[in-house]
């Protein structure tokens, strides 16, 4: 299994449907670090997340994204994943007719086979899967259901974290995984993330709320406004935003009205 250590985003500009959404983002995430990314609706957080993974609708017009010094913008989406990157989607897709367990088996084979690593036996896979399901306090019946089909909002988010736990990425971007979770679910999901936090895991946690950060402690907090990182700091930034909102960061009142 390939282990990566550092994701560098340099002056990233991204157009969507011909409109510039990201206007020069700079950010470095090392394994062992947890970063939080906050910012007003429509400021470009999901665009950043999705661009990092190579969605075909997102056109990179300038800048670089390096994974351990290697340009990933040329890589196919799946190659990035096999190198150890993971995106927990804000709106995960539904895949009718494909069971969670079969899908996870395929995905984990793909991940383990990167760099010609050893596969996992079916029995070993099942055992690990059951452990992770228990950890996230999920019902095993989810495993035989179609992937995300008919899942509630919160169930979909848990499923994202289950996948992350199975695939053991090194750099993960969690796009509003906390939104729509009830109190208990938030706790379980946070535990799922904290399981991974350590020297081989770095994360960018996109959120609107302080509450997930009570469970997962970021060392770095960044605020995105209008396609740029407008401010970076520590946890104190989160408190300021809870108290004052984003107005103090936004120069133009038009931009904040998005």
């Amino acid at each position: 299994m390939h282990i990566c250590k550092k994701l560098e985003i340099k002056n990233l500009h991204v157009n969507v449907e011909g409109k510039e959404i990201l206007k020069g983002v700079n950010l470095v995430i090392n394994t062992g670090e947890v970063h939080a990314l906050m910012g007003p609706n429509g400021s470009g957080k999901s665009t950043l997340a999705t661009s990092l993974f190579g969605h075909p609708n997102y056109e990179i017009t300038q800048g670089e994204v390096l994974l351990d010094g290697e340009d990933i913008l040329e890589m196919d989406v799946d190659e990035r994943a096999r190198k150890g990157m993971f995106l927990a989607f804000q709106y995960p897709s539904e895949i009718p007719g494909v069971s969670v367990v079969n899908f996870l088996r395929m995905a984990s084979k793909a991940r383990l086979s990167s760099n010609g690593g050893e596969g996992m036996s079916a029995r070993e896979f099942r055992k690990i899967l059951k452990e992770k399901v228990a950890l996230l306090k999920m019902d095993e019946s989810f495993l035989s259901r179609s992937l995300n089909e008919g899942f509630s909002g919160g169930e979909k988010k848990r499923m994202e974290i289950l996948q992350m736990n199975m695939l053991q990425p090194n750099i993960a971007v969690l796009d509003e995984t906390d939104s729509g979770l009830d109190v208990d679910a938030l706790k379980n999901v946070s535990e799922g993330v904290n399981q991974l936090v350590g020297e081989n895991f770095g994360a960018l946690i996109i959120t609107h709320y302080q509450r997930i950060l009570n469970y997962i402690k970021p060392e770095f907090v960044h605020i995105m406004v209008d396609g740029r990182i407008a401010n970076s700091g520590g946890l104190e930034l989160v408190e300021k935003i809870e108290a004052e909102g984003y107005d103090w960061l936004v120069n133009s009142p038009v931009a904040s009205a998005v």
Binding site: F53, D76, D78, I95, G97, V98, F103, S146
Partner: protein
Amino acid sequence: MPTSEQEQLNLDEYKYGFKDPENYVFKPQKGLNTEIIRTISEMKKEPEWMLKFRLKAYDMFLKRPMPNWGGFLGDLDLANIYYYIKPAEKESRSWDDVPDDIKKTFDRLGIPEAERKFLAGVGAQYESEMVYHSIIEELEQKGVIFISSDDGLKKHPELFKKYFGTVVPIGDNKFSAINSVAWSGGSFVYVPPGVKVEMPLQAYFRLNSENSGQFERTLIIADEGSEVNYVEGCTAPTYSSDSFHSGVIEIIVKKGARVRYTTIQNWSNNVYNLVTQRALVEEDGTMEWIDANIGSKLTMKYPSCYLVGKGARGDILSLAFASKNQHQDTGGKMIHAAPHTSSTIISKSISKNGGRSSYRGQVKVHPGCKGVKSSVVCDALLMDDYSRSDTYPYIEVDEPNSSIGHEATVSKVNEEQVFYLMSRGLSEDEATGLIVKGFLEPMIKQLPMEYAIELNRLIELEMEGSIG
């Protein structure tokens, strides 16, 4: 059937495209005329009535126009086809007696192996003749008949004559007429009252020479309260010019009997596959057609059920996969000619690389047939912008007291789904393949396991290299 991963990796695009050297007992000149018809009949040592039947059919064939609906038939040159090719002196009951070349072919197709593993009986047709037919002894002792139709005509003349041509009349359509002229091979199946054949009977059809025609004729009679499950598979080598397959399948489902007929059609992409399949279903009988069309250049095939007894039931599961230069024009027909009959048609089609699939279906309820229920669901999946899918449903209901439903959906493989799956490390081919499998899953899970595996494997092959 070979399923190991190793073998799958080495497969060419069309795995069954190999051809054997020709070593035939009889191969006439191309085309159809009364002289050839007489020769075929003579070689088969048929009774007089069958020769008359063939000649009458020839008349009808000449009179009937080519269908101008369905697929494009303008390139089908009926004069450039060998109508009868006799590959071997006789039909064998043991693989050891099948000529070596031919036996090798069936070995490569995995037929004898499947026979040992999970089949109650196997028939194998090579070009125009059945070269092998065998059924397990236990069933034979119960009176189950499973032989070639040619043998059926010889050994059970009364039974054969009583039903032959009754479900699909000679002149039903241009292609059933050709079949009635040139028919050879196919299976004759009779299941006595109350006998349940648990494991499937399988027939395998192989075309080998270029421009050959195959016109098998299958007749299945399931007597009262009996059950049987019949499966056919087909392959051919790929040639630059076209071959032609036009079978006729007639099934009689007696009171309370149940027949399931499964086709896994995987002809090479130069075969015109124009088949007439029809079942007559009597009181409380059940007919299930499972029709998977993956190969061929053009398939026009609409399995049908004539529900003629009270409480009779018909089900069709139709699966079509149309790729480059392929047109699958498939669907089904349900004719409700008795009260309280019910039917379902479920059709799933996939079109990719410019392929075209059309659903064509008919549901008809005769006046006075109260309490009829019918539901038709067709879902089409398009893999790209230049493939095509159409739906042609014909519904004629002449009885107000009936409940008829029809739903159709067309969807395109969704970019977000592909991105989502790829973001988990699956290649683009794997991602689209998984979406396709998911689309077909509700249908595949209804198949017996061996066929589900086989079908999944064929679909994987079709999906390979589909992008970029």
